[in-house]
Symmetry: C2
Subunit: 252 residues, 2 copies
């Protein structure tokens, strides 16, 4: 018997055994997608912070020349910051070798809340198979943490979690029994019904808001399934890439 | 274009226009089901209160002889109360003509939170079609409020809401456009997948807890679809039955 939980809204309590589990933070539109894209494009590390002031202070501490400030408020870039939260803007030309200090409305808080887990990784459509493979490889009993939208439920986070959950369960084979929480059962149903991210994003509140502020192309970007094979890991207040698995690690 | 929202966890904010909308409070296991059963069995009114002390005080004010105290903590009856929260115990012999003061973990708080709506009604499998008919008859743009379980998501509340939502949408016909929130789209997917309440209750956290404390028969009771044609209405701090619709009311 293995456990798999999905917390479908950010207000939900983490399970009692979170300290021994892998937490997958999902904020599809757009923080998770941006984190995956930035690190795949060669950024050294990404520091999520809650407040703008904190971001500026940390940028000064790290050394302003090596740092890019990025983030959003109400989906738009923050005044004086280098970048917004559009993953397509995080090109290798701009971000390779840089440290990124990021302040977003929902994703940042989710990472901090999830940091009580034994391991915290970041999932999105951009790295969906890589996250699934990592969970399977490490024999994880994952908790998917949906970041939502200002405390509200966000359908795209639950669907993405449900797709990953279904694949982890399938990989374990039919002989494995899974103890699913209510959120996991719900997310599996949503994943069945709303499998196509391009169609889904047009329907959801977060997707509509991004279109309203003129960033429609971000939706197509965040739907690019398996664009990268990377697994961002949040540890010691920074997100960076997990080292590629070695044969020895895979056996452990 | 008509609106339909499902708040799939109790922590979610109500929409800005809640004051002009009908809110359907759903706490399938078991407060909604108990309320429906008690009123259908002839109870005059039901007073939801949060705390045990408040329940005792209100019982004294209303006149202890005309009142039954009911409710639960951790699924079990409260010491010194007349009844627990098992709907099957609310027989006409016990409750006809009585006022019922009820304190439950989740359902009571949900009713109070929902009371900012123009109209607040109570839904469950026991009165599913009656609620749907009432929403259709009044041309409502409903908000389904899932009570959940100690702040967590409860799958059975979302499924019940999704089934009612699907039927309201179907009744309006194919020419009607609906503006659905993320929770409504999610609940529709869940309703498709977990349509049978008997099977569903065996899977969910609330259902398992009720079995654990020895009240398995409550699950079968709460799955009795359309057992009653009543619509409980919460108004002036009490829940009572809506008067049967008249031809004049139906036209208004």
């Amino acid at each position: 018997m293995m456990k798999l939980d999905v917390l479908i809204t950010p207000g939900e309590q983490l399970p009692g055994d979170v300290a021994s589990r892998t937490v997958v933070v999902v904020d599809v539109l757009r923080a998770s997608s941006t984190i995956v894209e930035a690190l795949a494009a060669g950024a050294r590390a990404l520091y999520p912070v809650a407040e703008v002031e904190e971001a500026l202070r940390l940028a000064n501490t790290l050394g302003r020349d090596d740092v890019l400030l990025c983030g959003e408020r109400k989906s738009l870039a923050i005044d004086g910051f280098d970048l917004g939260n559009s993953p397509g803007d995080f090109t290798p030309e701009r971000v390779a070798g840089k440290m990124i200090v990021m302040s977003t409305t929902n994703g940042t808080g989710a990472l901090v809340a999830a940091s009580v887990g034994a391991r915290v990784i970041v999932g999105s459509w951009l790295n969906l198979s890589a996250v699934v493979d990592e969970l399977v490889r490490t024999n994880a009993e994952p908790i998917f943490y949906c970041s939502g939208r200002e405390g509200r439920f966000a359908l795209e986070d639950a669907v993405c979690s449900g797709i990953m959950a279904a694949r982890v369960i399938a990989a374990a084979g039919e002989d494995m029994d899974w103890e699913l929480n209510d959120g996991a059962m719900a997310a599996l149903a949503m994943a069945d019904r709303y499998a196509d991210p391009d169609e889904l994003f047009r329907l959801t509140a977060a997707g509509k808001q991004i279109v309203e502020v003129g960033l429609r192309e971000d939706l197509a970007f965040c739907a690019l399934t398996d664009r990268h094979g990377v697994v961002p890991v949040f540890q010691d207040r920074q997100v960076s890439l997990a080292p590629a698995p070695t044969a020895a690690a895979a056996e452990s």
